[in-house]
């Protein structure tokens, strides 16, 4: 597979050229354009099987989760006997970074930061703590393991921060981080600060590893634009 990250750093998209029978998995809605010869398989990320029955089951699982709360992740797998080209784009403006996993490392990606991965990568939705205390969500993370490439996207620019010790990051600014790091989600500076400081939740990292931070935050955009919305 050849991949090209084009139009970065502000509006990057991922253009991939697939060999015959090679495939790439992408989050739902990411496709910009593709060769007509490529086939598309839609499924829930956790299940490896598509097919009609698999899809019906996935549909009901998604419905159940929607009613009882929880996250689902639909993905599209592009591939085919002739190969072809597919271009994938994230929803927000920003950059794309490729991380290669060799089977020994784990990469945690914040759910909005996952764009695509190659067939040898396993993805699992995980939950990073501090859920209901103030009605927040904590961190919704995608745990990536296996061998292959993971393509993460950022809202804004990506800054790589090597950690050796301790570091605190606003949860909305986390793109991804090494699985080797310890992390704990907490609110910043006590209850009063949480309600009025504007900083919602932060993640405290400890140990040695890399954290990828993004220079924009969807929740901050929401706070900023809300006073201008009509009723």
């Amino acid at each position: 597979m050849q991949h090209y990250i084009e139009h970065g750093p502000a509006f990057a998209w991922l253009r991939t050229r697939l060999e015959p029978n090679e495939s790439i998995v992408a989050e739902a809605g990411a496709m910009v354009r593709r060769s007509t010869a490529l086939e598309v398989e839609t499924r829930l990320n956790a299940s490896k099987k598509g097919g009609f029955v698999g899809l019906i089951v996935a549909f009901f699982v998604a419905l159940m989760r929607k009613f009882f709360g929880g996250e689902t992740m639909f993905v599209n797998e592009f591939g085919g006997p002739q190969g072809g080209e597919v271009v994938l784009a994230p929803k927000l403006s920003g950059h794309i970074l490729r991380k290669t996993l060799d089977g020994t490392r784990t990469l945690f990606v914040q759910s909005g930061g996952y764009l695509a991965s190659t067939a040898g990568i396993d993805t699992l939705l995980r939950f990073g703590g501090l859920r209901t205390l103030f009605g927040g969500e904590g961190l919704v993370l995608i745990q990536c393991t296996g061998q292959g490439d993971v393509f993460v996207n950022s809202y804004g620019g990506i800054t790589e921060v090597p950690i050796d010790g301790q570091f605190v990051v606003d949860t909305g600014h986390i793109v991804a981080f090494d699985g080797a790091l310890d992390f704990k989600v907490r609110s910043i500076g006590g209850a009063k600060s949480f309600l009025f400081s504007g900083e919602g939740l932060v993640c405290e990292f400890r140990g040695r590893g890399t954290v990828y931070i993004q220079s924009r935050n969807l929740k901050a955009l929401v706070s900023w634009i809300t006073p201008l919305l009509p009723g």
């Binding site: 606003d170 500076g189 009025f196 900083e199 901050a220 900023w224």
Partner: protein, 229 residues
């Protein structure tokens, strides 16, 4: 204190390195990441309840956090909420700079004044949403733009700018806000007003504006279900 502006002009990110005892005041919500020896203190102008009410109703209020380092070499990353550029302005004692409130990011210097009570504070945006801050030096001001910053040297012919596109302007300019006859949109707060500038000074224009984004996003909001209060 050292400062570095990263990712500009697309997604300006301010990286400050503080030594022990140094502090910076920033708009609430601006913190991206920081080292372990920085304390955060929240200031609410005009008292707890008044400030809370103003924040919820979108009135003239800024919640600010003061970040103080207790050790040397502490890194602090700050970012504005919208995509765009980030700039620094050093203000001399008594120097005045007018800044749209939504563009304020942070400042250094105990003597810098952010005036939200001056005469023209509400006239630029129809009284809803953002307002015009009057910043008086000495101190260092960091501000952001929605989009790129386009600097216009206003001279003899004067200049007209949609108020939502104003980042800031220097003193020495006279301004007059009026409705823009040619605009007939959905009137999201502040839309439809322009400002005529005269005199000599610099006008900083941003190439995108918040009311248009609000109008674009409005149809995508969830619809209120019957039974919600």
């Amino acid at each position: 204190m050292r400062h570095e502006i990263l990712d500009a002009p697309d997604f300006g990110l301010l990286k400050l390195t503080l030594d022990a005892g140094e502090k910076v005041v920033a708009e609430s919500g601006a913190m991206v990441a920081m080292g372990p020896s920085i304390a955060v203190d929240t200031k609410m102008r005009g008292g707890f309840l008044a400030a809370a009410k103003r924040k919820l109703l979108g009135g003239e209020s800024i919640f600010q956090n003061t970040f103080t380092a207790s050790a040397g070499g502490q890194e602090l990353y700050l970012a504005p909420p919208v995509e765009g550029d980030l700039a620094r302005r050093e203000l001399a004692p008594g120097e005045t700079f007018f800044l749209q409130s939504g563009n304020y990011l942070a400042h250094v210097g105990d003597q810098l004044v952010l005036d939200t009570q001056w005469g023209g504070v509400r006239s630029f945006f129809g009284g809803i949403g953002f307002f015009m801050l009057k910043v008086v030096g000495p101190g260092t001001l960091f501000y952001a733009s929605y989009g790129a910053i386009h600097e216009v040297a206003v001279g003899a012919g004067g200049y007209t700018c949609d108020t939502g596109h104003i980042v800031g302007f220097t003193s020495g300019l006279e301004y007059k806000v009026r409705p823009f006859a040619g605009f007939k949109g959905l009137f999201f707060s502040g839309e439809g007003l322009v400002c005529d500038f005269e005199g000599r000074g610099s006008l900083f224009v941003q190439t995108r504006k918040a009311p248009s984004l609000a109008a674009f996003l409005h149809p995508f909001r969830p619809v209120q279900q019957r039974g919600d209060n």
